[in-house]
Amino acid sequence: MEKWYLMTIVVLIGLTVRWTVSLNSYSGAGKPPMFGDYEAQRHWQEITFNLPVKQWYFNSSDNNLQYWGLDYPPLTAYHSLLCAYVAKFINPDWIALHTSRGYESQAHKLFMRSTVLIADLLIYIPAVVLYCCCLKEISTKKKIANALCILLYPGLILIDYGHFQYNSVSLGFALWGVLGVSCDWDLLGSLAFCLAINYKQMELYHSLPFFCFLLGKCFKKGLKGKGFVLLVKLACTVVASFILCWLPFFTEREQTLQVLRRLFPVDRGLFEDKVANIWCSFSVLLKIKDILPRHIQLIMSFCVTFLSLLPACIKLTLQPSSKGFKFTLVSCALSFFLFSFQVHEKSILLVSLPVCLVLSDIPFMSTWFLLVSTFSMLPLLLKDELLMPSVATTMAFFIACVTSFSIFEKTSEEELQLKSFSISVRKYLPCFTFLSRIIQYLFLISVITMVLLTLMTVTLDPPQKLPDLFSLLVCFVSCLNFLFFLVYFNIIIMWDSKNGRNQKKIS
């Protein structure tokens, strides 16, 4: 069958799954006084429509920052404004200043869900389709299967269409950035990535690999000639796009500072709620938050994060390749997730996107990672009453990956890209031949643990003395998995010596 029919069918399946998930509950449904992320987005439409730009990020009688104050960069605000104009056309009650607080109705839910779908359809889905079509050295059937698996990734669907967020916009822009930069359209790629950062500041997790890759390209072209020109052009593009997005906020110094204060709340501490990173998971053993003062915590987190991602970034600068770029995106984002401050569990999506991009290279490990990433958000999903869609989409994703890539047949050392590593280790330990087997067993243990924990969380009540027992266990188990993956991805990057230089770029 022709490629375009199949690709259309894949996109339709993705859209159907998305919309059916959106029929379920959203975060904070029917839970006054604060509600949840859904109400936050509705509130931002109210604020951006009714108040002048200068007041959007400031505390005032009309804009109480304690009640879901804006804490994303200006592009989110502009998007909210656009949605607000449409809302005004349909039903002004939805965004009336003050009186629309906590507004909930079937029609409004339909409207909000539609805005997510339209944004997804315009930005994220075309990027995925184009990315899969541009993949080299794989058959048409595999490209389409790849697109199906990426579009069925449960984490993004459940958060965007269940919990309610607009991650597909920022991730979509980031993906356009990856596409542009990999195909040597560096300026367009940087522009797209700047839009991503200006939509959600968490995209900064991806900024170092972009920077190092582009810098590496400039070095390769020679800093005395074309490389320098490219560097200047890139700098101008980045600066221009930032100025364009932040224009209304650059008029006064206080405006800019206030926005930055809202975007980076350093006062809020190392972590909030339960998240599957180092600081939260190991706080069960050692209460870091209580022992160390706030600024020491910040410095420590900063140092550990940068130490863990430095090797990969340096390698990318010295040997830029699109394969190295994608893997460095994974390891950088994962380092940030595990060691950075004020990380939310939804930030795992920033790691999941690059892992989706390497699905065709290492299907077994990628599928495993993506399953763990969805599992790590289990407490949040259960709170939003999304158990059934979570289980259904996770199983659908798993089946799609198993049938598309035959992942269980791709567990040899070569398929896992660990061959050069194993050879190096075997120079010192000749008996090191069981790496593949170990990884398979680890996979089994991981999946069994995840299934058991899910069953326990759903069916049992936690003991009275430890009400957060199951959430913490989920975080702890996920964190262990993520640490393993961090090591794995760094090994691939560092031992990828011979392939790095001769790697063909995507276009």
């Binding site: 859209l15 159907t16 079937q106 289980v391 659908a396 089994l444």
Partner: protein
């Protein structure tokens, strides 16, 4: 890991398709459901709480038991599982009771009983021969048939959104057809007899079975034992037409009989093996749909599902199938009139239509094109029709004065397509030469 690999390989494409559609059905659980949901809850309550002698007399709710006894027994068995979900749903006086557990139980019961349908599809795939155009899995007739049946749009929205139990019933029918193809005639006849005792609507196709099996000199049906089904009853009020002459049940019966007579004669005098039987069955179903009394739009599935088996065999049949299916499925749109379900029905319809047309076109790419310009134009016209009816019309001033216009337009437009398909199929049945009894399996 070796065990998992083996499991993944033998759990091949068919299992993946079946599991995939089952997961989609799970995702459809929170969608809108019609009054049929309350109908079945009521029947669970009746069969659970009352003695058998009362089952067909109980009338607390307006939705009285109007299916044959086997279906009542089926609800009785289900009720014994239902009590573990929510005891309250089994109270006859709890009219319109729909707690979340009730919803979960009912939806899961439909999904679970669909297992019979999946098995029947598996058996049907073994029966069809068909040409093998390419080595690609997705181009094999078995694969295409599996998708056309397992992921059938009409069945999905009628069973898993609107709420009915057609899945396992069509499973019985397809299984009996498969058995007839496999020359296991006794089993086929028995399965059909069982099916009739579940839902009497399948009487529409009984003539085809009767004639075919008689023709094979097998007596299976004692006419005196057929339960007296009430084709002319129903909850919809009787109404007299104001403009056109009123139609009586007798008139429709006569029209139906006249319509199916040629195909019956063909089946008797010009045997074409199991394939000919199948065509006759489809024609009986279609004729009854077109001329019968008190026909539900869902009855079009009675023609569409068996036709899928023919569609992967010949290009001519594929062409008729596509016209019938696309218009038939579109005619089901008015069943789902709520706003949240609008994207679902459009997406699923597009999914099924694009897949069926492109896969059958690829399968028969070496023969002449499946559609002529007129047919293409007609099918493409469904798009603008949908836009007009669902998006443009509600915004006009006619919505209040003539609210029936979208329904009227839909019915008329689809009637053209269905009639055309019926006619084309009839022509091919009458014109095609008879073949030997042993048609290739």
């Amino acid at each position: 890991m070796a065990a998992l690999t083996i499991a993944a390989r033998t759990g091949n494409w068919f299992s993946a398709l079946a599991l995939g559609v089952t997961l989609l059905k799970c995702l459809l659980i929170p969608t809108y459901h019609s009054t049929d949901f309350e109908v079945h809850r009521n029947w669970l309550a009746i069969t659970h709480s009352l003695p058998i002698s009362q089952w067909y007399y109980e009338a607390t709710s307006e939705w009285t038991l109007d299916y044959p006894p086997f279906f009542a027994w089926f609800e009785y068995i289900l009720s014994h599982v239902a009590k573990y979900f929510d005891q309250e749903m089994l109270n006859v006086h709890n009219v319109n009771y729909s707690s979340s557990r009730t919803l979960l139980f009912q939806r899961f019961s439909v999904i679970f009983t669909d297992a019979l349908f999946v098995y029947a599809v598996h058996e049907c795939c073994k029966c069809i021969g068909g040409k093998e155009v390419g080595k690609e899995l997705t181009e094999k007739p078995k694969f295409i048939l599996s998708v056309l049946l397992l992921w059938n749009f009409g069945l999905l929205i009628v069973d898993h959104i609107h709420f009915q139990y057609n899945g396992f019933l069509f499973g019985l029918m397809l299984l009996s057809i498969a058995r007839l193809f496999q020359k296991r005639h006794m089993e086929g006849a028995f399965l059909f007899a069982v099916l009739l005792h579940f839902k009497h609507i399948y009487l529409y196709v009984a003539p085809a079975y009767g004639v075919y099996l008689l023709r094979l000199k097998l007596k299976f049906l004692d006419p005196n034992k057929i339960p007296k089904a009430s084709m002319t009853s129903g909850l919809v009020q009787q109404f007299q037409h104001t403009v056109l002459p009123s139609v009586t049940p007798l008139a429709t019966l006569i029209c139906t009989l006249i319509a199916i007579l040629p195909s019956i004669f063909c089946l008797w005098f010009k045997p074409q093996g199991p394939r000919g039987f199948l065509r006759c069955l489809i024609l009986c179903a279609l004729s009854s749909f077109m001329f019968g009394w008190h026909v539900h739009e869902k009855a079009i599935l009675l023609a569409i599902l068996p036709m899928s088996l023919l569609s992967v065999g010949k290009a001519g049949d594929a062409s008729v199938f596509l016209i019938l299916t696309t218009t038939g499925h579109y005619s089901l749109f008015p069943l789902l009139f709520t706003a949240p379900e609008l994207p679902i029905k459009i997406l699923l319809m597009l999914l099924f239509t694009i897949y069926s047309i492109s896969s059958l076109k690829t399968l028969f790419r070496k023969e002449k094109p499946l559609f002529n310009w007129m047919e293409t134009f007609y099918l493409l016209g469904l798009g603008p029709l949908e836009v007009c009816c669902e998006f443009v019309f509600p915004l006009t001033s006619w919505k209040l004065k003539y609210p029936f216009i979208p329904l009227l337009l839909t019915s008329v437009y689809c009637a053209v397509g269905i009639t055309y398909a019926w006619f084309k199929l009839y022509v091919s049945v009458l014109i095609d030469p008879p073949v030997g009894k042993t048609k290739k399996q």
